[in-house]
């Protein structure tokens, strides 16, 4: 089975084509384009316009990059949510149009679950992981329990990526600020104490953000503040992940989401995993960030387990929670 997946929950629009080979995911193509605001953060409507302008060409290019034709595509998958309304609607419209024109079934999938399944689908030995999913809007620790992907811990206020972007904006860095903060942090040496807020397996960042901005206003070195932000937030993320592993008694850790591209975060989670004798898994960068291939792969899994969707029922859901998905494709 070959599936074309369209991702468009936030600032990125992605089209991926995957093939099911013995229940493992083979990525045939995976193209991503990202909207860059001229200033400030993502404006949902502008991002949706960007997606609308690029989606048709992106679909065409993604098929041209492979050996297949449109007639070989068996299924069209799209990200139903969670995400920004205008972006989701644009993506879903593109998916419906494609589904109707090539006369192939459509399926809408949960974006967060897709981040986990692409790890299981592409990495051998990754079977039952605890996922630390860190992106702009989402910060969740997810694992499979009793028929669903349960959220064992998550942010109580803003996502980690959002926290980094907001700090970046306050100090004059462009969006997305994460990669710039990562570079600055490597030059930082002095640690400034920041609030470390964990409640059970949940986590909060807004207090830390305010304090970090204060340090900047007080004239402290930006490199040192970036270093302190990374060390504090990533330690907290690693800790909640470890708590979830201990709680669920699993022995695999997977990371996903845009912030998972950060080397320091990867290193910390890996060290934690090694100290617990757990296996550490990280998908390649283009499968870590928001991408169409993961949407396509989850579509394959759902379709194979018998789930069907009609175009007229292919609604989007801005608040589509991870634990709302009935996981019919796993025991």
């Amino acid at each position: 089975m070959i599936c074309l997946g369209i991702e468009g929950t936030a600032h990125s629009i992605g089209v991926g084509i995957v093939k099911n080979e013995n229940n493992k995911c083979k990525v045939l193509s995976n193209l991503i384009k990202s909207y860059r605001p001229e200033q400030g953060g993502i404006h949902p409507r502008e991002a949706a316009n960007y997606h609308a302008n690029h989606i048709a060409d992106l679909i065409k290019e993604s098929v041209e990059k492979t050996d297949i034709n449109f007639k070989d595509v068996n299924l069209v998958s799209f990200s139903r949510g969670p995400g920004l309304g205008p972006c989701l609607r644009t993506t879903a419209t593109a998916a419906r149009a494609l589904s109707l024109s090539i006369k192939k079934p459509i399926i809408g999938v949960n974006h967060c679950v897709a981040h986990l399944e692409i790890g299981r689908g592409t990495l051998s030995d990754c079977k039952d992981p605890v996922l630390l999913y860190t992106s702009g809007a989402n910060t969740q620790v997810i694992a499979f329990a009793e028929g669903r992907y349960r959220v064992f811990g998550e942010t109580l206020d803003i996502g980690i990526g959002n926290c980094l972007d907001k700090f970046g904006r306050a100090v004059g860095l462009d969006f997305p600020s994460g990669p710039k903060i990562e570079v600055l942090a490597t030059k930082g040496k002095n640690y400034f104490e920041l609030p470390y807020s964990i409640k059970g397996m949940d986590i909060a960042f807004s207090g830390l953000l305010t304090t970090a901005e204060q340090y900047y206003k007080n004239g402290e070195k930006l490199e040192d503040i970036c270093f302190s932000i990374q060390e504090t937030t990533f330690a907290a993320l690693t800790e909640v992940t470890e708590r979830a592993i201990a709680h669920t008694e699993k022995d695999e850790v997977l990371i996903g989401g845009g912030v998972a591209a950060n080397k320091r975060l990867r290193d910390m989670v890996q060290i934690m995993a090694e100290e617990r004798n757990a296996s550490f898994f990280a998908p390649s960068k283009d499968l870590c960030i928001d991408n169409g291939a993961m949407i396509a792969w989850l579509g394959v899994l759902m379709h194979n387990s018998g789930i069907r969707m009609k175009v007229e029922n292919s609604f989007i859901d801005q608040r589509f929670r991870t634990d709302m998905v009935d996981v019919t494709w796993r025991d």
Partner: protein, 208 residues
């Protein structure tokens, strides 16, 4: 040197048997983590050790049974406390007859009310964290606890127990109602608002 016996190992700490003077004790040792920088590691370990010891002592002052604390080592993150020669509620609750189970659960509720009357939030009330000894409920592991007067915090505290009972003692899920009976009896404020809060938390649906 006696070989150390680890009773339990969690994500954050391990519990080992030990002797202090001539008493049977356990040591709760917080584990240093090499993934975080020394500065954060030291700060978290010493802060949490101190907070936990304070909460245990505060609970005792309010007449709630907890282990006696013998020693607190902030530098190494070790709390030395009484070894409770009792049974975990988790292991015995399912074996009682209905009347006894109801009595124990009411007792649990009364003790939680005593904690909450003084704004002590345990943070992880599960049947694994309660020990029955001398016909008294002893609370252990205040590692996620805090002092908090908000109804939300008290609701979350009870909600954790509700979930623990549903998962571990699912055949006797009326246990939680007995807990609430005891809680209502001993809570100084109106327990209604806390119980309403538990319902709200369930409705949020985020928690399992």
């Amino acid at each position: 040197m006696i070989k150390e016996t680890i009773l339990y190992q969690g994500a954050e700490a391990k519990i080992c048997r030990s002797k202090y003077m001539n008493f049977d004790t356990v040591e709760k040792r917080r584990i240093s983590k090499s993934y975080r920088i020394k500065n954060i590691d030291n700060r978290l370990i010493s802060y949490r050790t101190k907070e936990e010891a304070k909460l245990i002592i505060e609970a005792r002052n309010q007449g709630v049974s907890v282990p006696i604390i013998y020693d607190v080592d902030l530098k190494n993150g070790i709390i030395t406390m009484e070894y409770l020669k009792g049974k975990r509620i988790k292991d015995i609750l399912n074996n009682f007859d209905e009347d006894e189970r109801a009595r124990i659960c009411r007792m649990i509720g009364e003790n939680i009310a005593k904690l909450h009357n003084n704004n002590i939030i345990h943070g992880d009330i599960t049947t694994s964290n309660m020990i029955l000894m001398n016909d008294k409920i002893h609370f252990i592991d205040f590692g996620l606890g805090e002092i908090n007067s908000e109804i939300e915090a008290k609701g979350v505290d009870l909600h954790v127990l509700m979930e623990a009972i549903e998962s571990t003692h699912s055949r006797y899920s009326n246990c939680f109602n007995y807990v609430l009976e005891g809680y209502k009896n001993k809570l100084k404020d109106d327990a209604k608002s806390v119980i309403k809060k538990i319902e709200d938390i369930v409705k949020r649906g985020r928690y399992r």
